[in-house]
Symmetry: C2
Subunit: 381 residues, 2 copies
């Protein structure tokens, strides 16, 4: 097992009717900024539930944090938070709203421009405390200290690590109104979060392997049932729970990680606006194929334990395992090929150029450079 | 899934050489009380490592917290902590040392007698912050807010819930010197912690079922290997990690719990000083047998997924599953029958009387009264 440090102080408040429990989290009247994405929370009743639960507190609202939150938008929220001197922030929405809110919370306590914090998180010296009412299970942002922030001007998209939410409210009933495509992307995102922490070497932390496989098995089990019954409380609570457990660092304890798939996927989003979950569905099978020799033992373990693949030569088992993974994504209704997204050589060349320019080497073995990223993307055509 | 709230703020610092990292946890010179059990930490070098890591801090030492810590002993530590006005406490030892330290930390901030806090935890209003250097993986105390405290005068043993350790240092190398019997008890204790949270109804939180099964499978896999190689870093790190994960509330999220086995086992310890892990090895198979109708589906799931038992009638599968569980404990070298401990009818009658007197109904279905406890103990003869 690798040495590790682990701490996750976020309080989860999970279940039917949990939005009403926000009020118990405050001991005195507080000036709270609510941050939102689009208007869907007004249609599905979440907005009203939150407002009802916060009676007696002073509320400031900021609307319009978009998917793949852009620093250009967040700067306006930061200005508002500074001007109103808010004491607490609650993100009401999906992972993008919460990701944006993490930067807002830090930048309110910072004198310079917010993008400087993304480029150099050492500049973060504090944050307005914040929490979330999660409406879109996918990113795990509700129980981790990470965020992904985009810059429209520079067409860049980077991870940003700062603080955990103080608490996160997870009421599976709020997921009933999510469009099926978004649910599919959320399941794919959660699935690939697990794979990034799992698909490295074998026998490093066997319990964590089993926990990771447990999330994958559960997602595979519930995905087709959710397509049939998107308003089934039991199914949607499993989906919501798996999404949180997939990226709260539980399954990263004592193991190496990869994240090459995410880094390549982020470029597809930055350059073409591909939905995050769908970008991963395109990149993961190709990453597995290109790195199948390096990840051989773990792909075989994953194939056997998660997909029940035990027959044939190792090569055949690996091919079948990768095929089943791609099929899982396509049965979710997601595209799994760049050609389906009308993305081709021009984009591949640009991503290769960016990887080489940055000089960062990605993946568990730090061997994913521009050329390997190109090979992965060509394999995903 | 059941509604739940979850929060676990403890920082884990896990791995080889982690004791030296204590120094990074303090930002200024601090008056620290170190609490210890017997002298084994002087023999295995842990004491010296801790002292070396705390250079520059003022240290007060309290020695002599015994297994199944007694309030009579803890009162002396509380007096010392009050007199010395300590600012922080680090428990250096096993679960008993840390359990005792949790009460010490609370009682230093309380004017009355410490046992009053055990009887009524609502009287707890604060605590000296505390941490642990864990030397004996078993109780999970290093990452939860629970403790079990005994009263010599009244021959009672009760659970006490208060605060989490701020951090816990887990260096698997410190386990090399634990006597094999203690390792066996620690593995049994961890195993039964999982069972108390797992052996209820099926399909409530399928992911958590898989996580619980993952811990059980890992313990079953490593137990015989540890008997052969008690100084294998990889094996001992898995054991240490499993013990913590078995009782840090991760696997209690969204599921019911039982704890009848522990409550009956505690009486055996209170009345006869039976080692905690061994008391559970005696009681668990009998609890499974007596409640096999109620727990039917989960025993079948456990038998199939953990022990690979798929052949025969349900009745045969259940019998084989319980048999394999008892065999696991006896292969650890533990006694699994009251008769082996020279405990008989007199004790059974006393435990039945205590259960009836207290009127508490135990287990997931709150149906374990004095008569059911008698049936379980008779089955364990």
């Amino acid at each position: 097992m690798l040495n590790f440090e682990f701490q996750n102080p976020t309080k989860l408040i999970f279940g039917k009717g949990s939005i009403a429990k926000i009020e118990k989290q405050f001991s005195r009247p507080t000036k709270i900024m609510l941050t939102f994405g689009g208007g869907s929370v007004k249609q599905n009743g979440v907005y009203q539930q939150v407002i009802d639960a916060l009676k007696g507190h002073e509320i400031v609202e900021f609307w319009g944090i978009e998917p793949n939150p852009k620093v250009e938008t967040l700067r306006r929220a930061i200005e508002l938070g500074k001007a109103e001197n808010v004491e607490f922030i609650i993100a009401v929405g999906g992972g993008s709203t919460l990701d944006g809110t993490k930067l807002i919370a830090c930048a309110i306590r910072y004198d310079g421009d917010a993008w400087a914090l993304v480029l150099d998180p050492k500049k973060v010296t504090g944050a307005v405390p914040f929490a979330s009412v999660m409406t879109m299970p996918a990113t795990g942002s509700e129980m981790n200290n990470g965020a992904v922030i985009s810059n429209l001007a520079t067409k860049e998209k980077f991870a940003f690590y700062s603080y955990h939410p103080q608490f996160s409210i997870l009421d599976p009933e709020v997921t009933y109104s999510i469009p099926p495509y978004q649910v599919a992307c959320g399941i794919a995102d959660s699935f690939v979060h697990v794979m990034e922490q799992y698909l490295t070497d074998t026998n490093i932390n066997p319990l964590i392997d089993r926990w990771a496989e447990g999330i994958l098995q559960t997602l595979i089990e519930i995905a087709p049932q959710i397509q049939e019954n998107p308003r089934d409380y039991n199914l949607m609570s499993q989906y919501m729970f798996c999404a949180t457990m997939a990226l709260n660092r539980f399954i990263s304890m004592g193991v190496p990680q990869d994240w090459a798939t995410h880094n390549i996927g982020h470029e597809l989003t930055a350059l073409h606006g591909v939905t995050h979950g769908e970008s991963l569905a395109v990149v993961l099978p190709a990453t597995m194929t290109v790195l199948s020799e390096q990840k051989r033992n773990k792909i075989l373990q994953y194939g056997e334990r998660v997909w029940g693949i035990t027959e044939g030569t190792d090569g055949l088992k690996i091919a079948e395992t990768i095929g089943r993974t791609e099929q899982f994504f396509s049965q979710l209704g997601l595209k799994t090929r760049l050609s389906q997204l009308n993305i081709g050589e021009e984009t591949i060349a640009e991503i290769e150029r960016r990887f080489n320019e940055r000089g960062t080497l990605l993946g568990e073995c730090k061997n994913v450079n521009g050329a390997v990223a190109r090979a992965i993307l060509e394999c995903a055509l």
